[in-house]
Amino acid sequence: MNLSATDLCLTVDGVDHLKQVTATFVPGRLHTVIGRTMAGKTTLLRVLAGLQAVDSGALTREGADFLKTPVWRRDTAMVYQQFINYPHLNVFDNVAFPLRRAGLSRNEIRRRVISSLARVGLADFERRKPSQLSGGQQQRVALARALARGTGILLLDEPLANLDYKLREQLRDEFRTLFSDQGDTVVIYTTTEPAEAMMLGDVVLVMHEGQILQIGSPQEVFERPATTTVASIINDPPMNIFTGRIESGQVTVAGFQATHVSAHLADLPDGVYQFGLRATDVSLASAGVEGEVTFVEISGSETFVHAAVGETPFVIQIEGIHDVALGDLVKLRLRPERLFAFDEEGSLVRTPSYDLAPVEGR
């Protein structure tokens, strides 16, 4: 029942939309595909759904060539980023549409529609037209339609991206329970937000410029990002990446005082490295290296201070809301024990120790 993609490639007007994408999607698990806008996430879903042809590569399901299967026989449901429903049908008929196509009995259709509308919290909306619903409700209808069929493959393309902030938070919480028991369904969910990918996924796939950079459990990807690119995609704000040297037991980073290497980097050979440090692992202190504040962003409950140390930009995440003015001079303190080390090409060589054991060797 696995859905396997092998070396999928698609180039449009000289731009790689998919580049040797190889992945296996397993029934009963929720796969989150994270990447920035234009990373190829939507293209991948469209290929899996049969809405988009590829230049080369293979796609198999239960060993059979899935590329040859037309869309309407793929047993696939999809929820779009834009709230797509049939404008001419009311909520009930929208959800019933695929069930009627599948030739279910009237009673069975009625039962399934009612239960899936209840699951998404729209029990009393059967007779409304989609245009009479709010954006969040329209997306719930689309979700109910996708769930009602119980398809073998369920694709969700950034389903929360166009919703208000608080609604997004609420639906994201609901998704956890909604998708917790998917039986034999392969669920694939794309997003640009690390927190969403981490929270929802059993498996996280990191995509960038049409390529899959890493596949793993949320914990694996977060704690052992394979490359600097993965590290910056899976962290929000992106991980601070800067160049430095390890030389005779000292770490040197331009603008900072040299410090002793911490234990997890101790056995690395001398040389130039790229270091990664999460925004949460840089702090403002009373003493430290001076940086100039270039921008301050405030989320609901965190403050992100962007500060430049010489030429190197840093972003610092502070819990809570703090008033930091543009142009202020602040003191930065890095936590050396939290440094990720990447080689010059950007591949991971050492991680700080979390729950997982540090990566061994080069």
Binding site: R36, T37, S134, D164, Y165, K166, E169, D173, R176, T192, P194, A195, M198, M199, P218, Q219, F222, I234, N235, D236, R278, A279, T280, F295, V296, E297, I298, S299, G300, S301, Q317, E319, G320, I321, H322, D323, L326, Y354, D355
Partner: protein, 359 residues
């Protein structure tokens, strides 16, 4: 730079309806000269109505709008000397960037040399000075928004710049830089800015003061820090912050506040007369501890949500849901039952949904 005052202004789109159903319930506000304000709230909260009343597009059903003390309630948009940036970039398609920026000044019959100097000054601040001769319609959406902003900034005397969700149609990648640019520009030129958005992230990043609205009412006006640290109502506590603030229903016995039978020490008192007493505490301030002590309560872990650098623990305390935001490096408690500590200074008293700070 003008101070804007709203005096007892209310508005209903259907005249004669009862006040409870007005799009904007009567309220009074002051927007100080040279400051940036954000109006934030879900759709239908009245923020756009309020903006339209300021711009003169909507004449309020009651009350007065004062610009530097002068009553402008009856004046049309044109006579109010404001600038506005809309959701969708508005530029004069047939003109170049330069002509777009010069247009308001030409309408005011400035002489050429003065226009030229002013346009160059503003274009430089907006980083548009290298594209002045290009047709404005060829620019990207974010640059077009800058032109809209620039058309307001060229007028020295502009009373206020109104911005109506200006980032809506901007690419996600460019949102960040445009937001940054808007912030820089407003700090440099210091106009009075009223910025409408539904996104709390945007509101708090751009504005010095944020006005949270809901159902046509102003819920709270304050700095981002105030909104976070001391939400005036359970709604603001829910709306600002992610995850939302925790609210726990508490009992008052013998003048003491108790939660699940245990005493909860607080810096403030809750008045006796309230029918529902709650304690509000941000998930950031809830601590997971092992040692019993003052203000610690037994908790049961229900779920853990991995947000990356932090984890959000969903726990049950005295039969109520409470969330804690915990740094990843602290790990997940091995035991199913443990304690949470609610710091005394961070537990805020709410009576019938409103913050009451009596000591």
């Amino acid at each position: 730079m003008t101070q804007l005052d709203i005096v007892d202004v209310g508005h209903s789109y259907t005249p004669g309806s009862e006040e409870e159903r007005w799009a904007l319930k009567p309220l009074g506000l002051t927007f100080e000269a040279g400051k940036t304000y954000a109006l934030v709230g879900p759709s239908g909260c009245g923020k756009t109505t309020l903006l339209n009343i300021l711009s003169g597009l909507v004449r309020p059903s009651q009350g007065q709008v004062l610009f530097d003390g002068a009553d402008v309630t009856a004046l049309p948009t044109k006579a109010r000397n404001i600038a506005q940036v809309f959701q969708f970039p508005v530029i004069y398609q047939s003109m170049t960037v330069y002509e777009n920026l010069a247009f308001p000044l030409q309408c005011r019959r400035w002489d050429k040399a003065r226009i030229d100097a002013k346009v160059h000054q503003v274009a430089e601040a907006l980083d548009l000075d290298d594209r002045l001769r290009q047709p404005a319609r060829r620019l990207t959406a974010d640059d077009k928004q800058l032109i809209s902003l620039g058309r307001g900034l060229v007028r020295d005397d502009v009373a206020a710049v109104l911005m109506d969700e200006p980032l809506t149609v901007i690419d996600p990648q460019l949102k960040h830089s445009l937001r940054r640019k808007i912030r820089e520009i407003t700090e440099q030129f210091r106009p009075t800015v009223i910025y409408v958005t539904h996104d709390q992230y945007e509101a708090m990043s751009i504005a010095q003061e944020v006005l949270v609205m809901k159902d046509g009412r102003a819920m709270q006006q304050g700095t981002p820090e105030q909104l976070f640290e001391a939400p005036s109502s359970t709604y603001v506590g829910y709306f600002i912050g992610s995850p939302a603030m925790n609210f726990l229903t508490v009992d008052r016995t013998h003048g003491n506040v108790t939660l699940g039978g245990r005493a909860l020490a607080m810096a403030w008192d809750i008045p006796q007369s309230t029918s529902e007493s709650q304690v509000g505490i941000r998930p950031e301030y809830v601590e997971v501890v092992t040692e019993p002590g003052p203000n610690t309560f037994p908790a049961r872990l229900r779920d853990v949500r991995d947000h990356g650098p932090q984890r959000v623990f969903e726990m049950e305390v005295a039969g109520q849901l409470i969330r804690a935001k915990v740094p990843r490096e602290n790990g997940i408690p091995a035991l199913e039952e443990f304690l949470v500590h609610l710091p005394r200074a961070k537990a805020l008293p709410y009576a019938d949904g409103r913050l009451v700070l009596h000591s």
